[in-house]
């Protein structure tokens, strides 16, 4: 089916400055770069069972932003049985651009803001591809909500996503439709 909107799932953490970068990047895409074409997945609301947050991830391709090697965003997607359509990996963006997150979590420093712009550019590139490529097809999936275990650290679930690199910082699970790779 043709893609009308994209769900963006920034890691949304609190501790690391990189998570602020991911959050601001999401706002840049949602408000400035692709207004009206993206939705932001709110994990606490999703776990709560707020319908719109469940439907947005079931019915639309998701771009997950992992801010750190802990990969909390991908971990949750793997747990709920919905592979992301693309993953943006901030450590790659840092390596590639030389930009750093800075030190301010409340309001990003200038360098952190530039990094957020760069992350947003990667998100928007993947999202725009899915929105505009007539051959990109997305299959709806249902969330696995029952008999789940949280708070168990394992890389196994993420390994099962079997990410392939599309270009520096942009990945997709092997089982998901190709982007421009």
């Amino acid at each position: 089916m043709a893609v009308k909107r994209i769900c963006i799932f920034p890691c949304g953490g609190m501790k690391k400055v990189e998570s602020t970068v991911a959050r601001i990047a999401s706002y840049i895409v949602n408000e400035d770069l692709l207004p009206g074409k993206t939705m932001l997945m709110c994990v606490p609301a999703f776990l709560r069972g707020v319908e719109e947050d469940i439907l947005m991830v079931e019915n639309n391709p998701t771009v997950v932003i992992d801010c750190h090697e802990e990969s909390c965003g991908s971990g949750l997607m793997a747990l709920i049985g919905i592979p992301p359509a693309a993953r943006i990996y901030i450590p790659d963006v840092v390596s590639q651009t030389g930009l750093i997150p800075g030190r301010n979590r409340q309001v990003l420093d200038l360098v952190g803001e530039r990094l957020a712009q760069e992350v947003a550019r990667c998100v928007a590139k993947a999202a725009q591809w899915m929105l505009e490529d007539q051959y990109y097809s997305f299959e709806k999936r249902k969330v696995k909500a029952f008999n789940q275990n949280l708070c168990e650290f394992s890389d196994e679930a993420i390994d099962l996503l079997d990410y392939v690199q599309v270009e520096p910082a942009i990945y997709r699970p092997k089982s998901m439709p190709p982007l421009w790779d």
Binding site: L40, L150, S154
Partner: protein, 189 residues
């Protein structure tokens, strides 16, 4: 056991502007108002299973900052079978103070920043009471996160915890310790 540190759990949302308010309130508490006495809970790292986050919620009393009526912060603790020591409910603070989250999420407007400071101010009273009152005790809890049903909106978290209202916007589960400074008149903070 006496309280060495207090965990603050801002709801962690992203879409609603009020989630930016709880986030800023958490940073104010963690970086400016208390530093090492308070630590922010990162719920994404917690559900990922990072041991330091698990230890944080099991070992120290937690104040949840619920940003909106969905009460997602309380819901996560309900899922993990951990009781918060206190809960601050931002919609009541909005009603009481007339401060609004504003319309900017990247950087909060003045009203949103003032609201965050007000949320943090209420948390300060609770933290100080827990830290300074020798009669306040916290019992370790263990997360039980096996075989959960996620995404179940039917759960009434207020009822599940038996929240009782201590002051405008401030609650605690009925079987958790009373909050010094808020429920005991003799302590003035």
């Amino acid at each position: 056991m006496s309280v060495y540190k207090v965990t603050v759990y801002p709801c962690g949302g992203i879409g609603l502007h009020v989630s930016c308010v709880t986030r800023l309130a958490g940073y104010l508490l963690d970086e400016e108002l208390f530093k090492s006495d308070v630590e922010i809970l990162d719920m994404h790292r917690l559900i990922r299973g990072m041991p330091d986050e698990i230890e944080l919620v099991e070992t120290y009393p937690t104040i949840i900052l619920d940003g909106c009526a969905h009460q997602c912060g309380s819901n996560l603790f309900y899922l993990l079978k951990i009781k918060p020591a206190a809960r601050i409910y931002v919609p009541e603070i909005i009603s009481e103070t007339g401060l609004f989250p504003g319309r900017a999420r990247k950087v909060l407007e003045d009203s949103g920043q003032r609201l965050a400071r007000e949320v943090a101010r209420r948390a300060v009273r609770i933290v100080k009471g827990m830290r300074e009152n020798p009669n306040y005790h916290y019992t370790l809890q263990k997360i039980n996160a096996v075989g959960l049903t996620l995404c179940d909106y039917e759960v009434d978290v207020e009822e599940a915890f038996g929240y009782i209202k201590i002051a405008p916007g401030v609650y605690r589960p009925k079987d958790m310790n009373s909050l010094p400074g808020l429920e005991e008149k003799e302590i003035q903070l």
